[in-house]
């Protein structure tokens, strides 16, 4: 494979959850609604109707742009993109062509350099950042939806005109794992911003990878991009994105190995077979005849305006803060920050518990890590109110008083059944005792402190 270097770029569409549509006042929550009930003359493209842009959708696009470290253009505009399709009522989509709202950004993915799961509490972990560049973020309107029946096709325009943000990356990916991590991170960010549900299944987040292969054997300089690319459409889960990319890489490498060149085309993804199939080739590519949308004046954003659109703390920033401030493990910080609600829940507990810390029977242990563990392992339900959670936590951490007789019996049982670790321990393998402690804890269902159990075992051996 090293002779063949995959080059992958992504186009991601995210439907914004503003209450009204992009250019009219119809509601956007079309999911599960009866077809063509959330429509008006504007989103049906009736004669004489005009688009009036949704300010919130514009602000939210700026917000996404900021979250992706983009430059926000102080001059932007809408353009008409023409093509004919029955689900496109005006014969053109109002989109953005050469002056997107945001451009030239980047997203850093935090990647752990050690795979050890036995990271000691509080120890410093090196996390590397991998950078993926964002080419542009622009705003457009969604189309209607075709419903194919046996002998006819129906159109539902409820989705027509719902604000849609398109995020385009540079072709910075060379494997499907990074793509998957990137998309998952992007989804979390979008949800943090509260601008979209970014739900792949419901179609509020959609993605199209562009895949091509640089062949090192050919004498093309490796920094040059291949002069073709294959776009894959109709993918509705992260898992399938990975599958589709892996399939494409294999398919294209095989073509290249035969000394041929893959053709530029758009392919669909068949999730049942896990393969891609040709949909449209370059010869059939559209000429969209872009021109500036005359019905909408250009958008001008001054610095004060852009500054007034405030970002929240993003998941990657939270991870870094949790590690440095709360001294919790990277893995746990990562898990806690996947859902903003959980992260906020965690932080509220931490801030509230400060006043009750004396009630917790923990000695020299990092209470933040303990709370993190309780949340992650679902030992206490996060459905409870923060106060209820804290009460349960205090209860859980009470010193465990164990019937000494029962403990002694349990230890005897374990020692009897495990002669080998005892032997190991006696030979100097100190760690072997941890196995025995674990077995005893299992036997007594964790109703004693590990420290005490260990002391008891040591005494008995």
């Amino acid at each position: 494979m090293s002779d063949y270097q995959p080059v992958i770029g992504l186009e991601i569409h995210v439907e914004l959850k503003t209450s009204s549509k992009m250019f009219c006042q119809c509601l956007t929550n079309y999911f599960g609604k009866e077809p063509n009930t959330q429509v008006c003359p504007v989103c049906l493209g009736f004669p004489g109707t005009l688009p009036v842009p949704n300010k919130k959708a514009i602000d939210w696009t700026i917000l996404i742009g900021k979250a992706l470290n983009c430059k926000i253009n102080n001059f932007s505009k809408f353009d008409r993109k023409h093509y004919f399709y029955p689900d496109l009522p005006k014969g053109y989509q109002i989109s953005q062509y050469d002056q997107p709202i945001a451009k030239n950004g980047q997203l850093y993915l935090l990647i752990k350099n050690s795979k050890s799961k036995y990271q000691k509490e509080g120890s410093k972990l090196k996390i590397t950042k991998k950078k993926f560049r964002i080419r542009r973020v622009h705003l457009e309107e969604d189309t209607g939806k075709l419903i194919h029946l046996k002998n006819e096709t129906l159109v539902d325009f409820n989705r027509s005109g719902v604000p849609l943000v398109e995020i385009v990356t540079e072709p910075d990916f060379d494997n499907s794992d990074d793509v998957k991590i990137f998309l998952e991170e992007l989804q979390v960010i979008i949800r943090y911003l509260g601008v979209s549900d970014a739900d792949m299944e419901k179609g509020t987040m959609r993605m199209e990878p562009n895949i091509s292969i640089i062949s090192q054997k050919s004498k093309v300089k490796s920094q040059n991009l291949p002069d073709y690319k294959v776009e894959v459409k109709n993918i509705n889960s992260f898992r399938f994105v990975k599958q589709a990319i892996d399939y494409e890489i294999k398919r294209q490498v095989e073509i290249l190995k035969k000394g041929k060149q893959p053709i530029q085309e758009t392919r669909g993804f068949d999730e049942k077979k896990g393969v891609t199939y040709s949909q449209r080739t370059k010869e059939e590519a559209y000429d969209y005849r872009y021109f500036p949308e005359p019905d909408i004046p250009p958008l001008v954003f001054n610095k004060d305006y852009v500054d007034s659109i405030k970002l929240v703390e993003l998941p990657s920033q939270k991870i870094e803060r949790y590690i440095s401030q709360f001294k919790i493990r990277f893995d746990d910080a990562f898990i806690l920050t996947r859902d903003k609600k959980v992260a906020e829940y965690f932080e509220t507990i931490i801030s509230k518990i400060k006043y009750q810390i004396s009630k917790l029977s923990i000695k020299n242990q990092n209470y933040q890590q303990i709370i993190a563990n309780f949340i992650i392992n679902k030992k206490i339900s996060t459905q409870l109110s923060v106060d209820e959670f804290i009460n349960k936590l205090i209860e859980n951490l009470k010193p465990k008083e164990m019937d000494k007789k029962l403990l002694s019996e349990a230890i005897d049982k374990v020692l009897k059944n495990n002669p080998k670790p005892i032997e190991d321990y006696k030979k100097g393998k100190i760690n072997a005792i941890m196995f025995l402690v674990g077995q005893v804890m299992k036997e007594i269902e964790g109703k004693a402190e590990a420290k005490i159990v260990r002391e008891e075992i040591e005494r008995k051996i």
Partner: protein
């Protein structure tokens, strides 16, 4: 008796309860009955006045490219032959809210593509002054109904000349407001960056009165501006003196009798104490190419929605002029040609705007003929490709720049007794000034009796 009453005076009579609104409507319906089959100015006549809730009914005619809720709206195309809009355009909504009653929908060039009403799929309108001639276009039906008093006033729309040119040929007043002054919502789009609704009337005061009603920001049209609207009716009565620019560039190829009228008016304006100043402007011919490219591009895009899926007939119902425009517009926007045509046209458009800005530092407004010739015979148009562009050559620069302008009649030709139209082009959002000077001319000259003479041909 009633013949020739201005809209303002009808409103006054109705408000003072000296006359019943329904009687006024009946009066006009009777006249329409009598003359419309000859003039073919209305496509649809609205007789629903009996069921109207208000009895304050001020009749007005509306060009058939304004969507009127429940009243068939065709844009004179068979494609929309049976189209009944589910919503009301902002212009007609504002009129109805101000007690107007829509008498009917007037004929036009199909999709407003033309300057004669001859591209209408329902046959052309006849010029009330000479039934063998065109009333001009595209708002030809609106001009004809006002000129023949089948309505006291009418609404038209202009992309480049479509209000002023038919007003000139039919001998009435036609005001094209500044782009962005009046909402386009519900106006079936032709050239979106140019389209502008405006009134056609018998008096300057009526034009001011209607503009007062329809002007102003509209939340359904993002290109309308939040500018304060002056009291136009009051403003036209002020005694103001203006600096008026004139240029030879707008006289090239203009009919001798029209030129004579132009010079005659200059003398009168000087006498009234206005200053006449010679100015230099870019020759209007540059505007033709710019206008043609931009308008065709926008047309090709705006007509893309007529697929027959959601409403109306499908695209096979487009006439040949619409097809020609779609083809040319598609061409100038296609990949590889965009820069050479559309982008370049927009650059020249900016130059034309800059040219006007410069001139408007020296003068308050520009006086020019509205058309190079008076009304042509029906059928003449087919001989000239780009006929509309040639007839509208003196209207296009102001349209391209989005300026306001007004046509008013100024005498009849000796050779064939046809109305001559002159125009005033004003600064952006200064409709009150061109209306004011038109009103002064009206008071001083009564437009040389054109309107009165026109009405005499159409007795009750």
């Amino acid at each position: 008796m009633f013949l020739g009453q201005s809209l303002v005076s009808i409103v006054d009579l109705i408000n003072k309860k000296k006359i019943d609104g329904k009687e006024v409507v009946k009066y006009f319906l009777k006249r329409i009955e009598k003359y419309n089959s000859k003039l073919k100015a209305y496509l649809t006549v609205n007789k629903s006045y009996k069921t109207n809730k208000s009895d304050k009914l001020v009749p007005i005619a509306v060009k058939d490219n304004f969507c009127t809720k429940g009243i068939r709206t065709t844009a004179s195309s068979k494609l929309l032959e049976n189209f009944i809009p589910p919503y009301e355009s902002t212009v007609t909504k504002r009129l109805i809210d101000a007690d107007s009653f829509i008498l009917g929908k007037t004929n036009m060039d199909a999709w407003a593509h033309g300057s004669s009403t001859e591209t209408s799929d329902f046959g052309s309108t006849k010029n009330p002054w000479d039934l063998t001639r065109s009333p001009g276009g595209s708002s030809g039906g609106s001009a004809a109904v006002v000129s023949s008093y089948l309505a006291p006033a009418a609404i038209g729309s202009e992309t480049a000349g479509s209000i002023r040119q038919p007003a000139a040929w039919s001998g009435v007043i036609g005001l094209k407001p500044t782009y962005g002054r009046v909402s386009r919502y519900g106006l079936i789009a032709m050239g979106s960056s140019l389209d502008c609704p405006g009134p056609l009337t018998l008096t300057t005061e009526d034009a001011a009165f209607i503009l007062q009603i329809i002007a102003g920001h509209d939340k359904f049209d993002a290109t309308t501006v939040y500018k304060k609207i002056p009291n136009y009716v009051f403003k036209i009565k002020e005694k103001k003196k203006f600096v008026i620019g004139v240029t030879d560039e707008y006289l090239e190829g203009v009919d001798e009798e029209i030129k004579e009228a132009f010079y005659q008016l200059i003398k009168i304006l000087k006498k009234l104490g206005h200053e006449i100043k010679k100015i230099k402007l870019l020759p209007p011919k540059y505007a033709i190419s710019v206008y043609t490219i931009i308008q065709r591009a926008e047309v090709s895009s705006n007509l893309a929605r007529y697929d027959g899926i959601r409403y109306a007939n499908n695209r096979t119902f487009f006439g040949s002029e619409a097809k020609r425009r779609i083809m040319l517009g598609t061409y100038v926007l296609s990949y590889g040609y965009y820069d050479a045509y559309y982008k370049k046209a927009q650059k020249v458009r900016t130059l034309i705007i800059e040219d006007f800005k410069k001139v408007f530092k020296e003068v308050d407004m520009i006086l020019a003929p509205t058309t190079p010739i008076t009304a042509l015979k029906l059928g003449e148009f087919e001989k000239y490709p780009f006929f509309g562009e040639m007839m509208d050559v003196l209207n296009e620069p102001a349209a391209i720049a989005g300026l306001c302008a007004i046509n008013f009649p100024f005498g009849l030709t000796k050779k064939n007794n046809l109305p001559i139209g002159l125009q005033l082009i004003g600064r952006w959002f200064e409709e009150e000034n061109i209306l004011n000077l038109t009103s002064q001319i009206e008071k001083e000259t009564d437009f040389l009796g054109v309107i009165e003479k026109g009405l005499k041909n159409y007795p009750d």
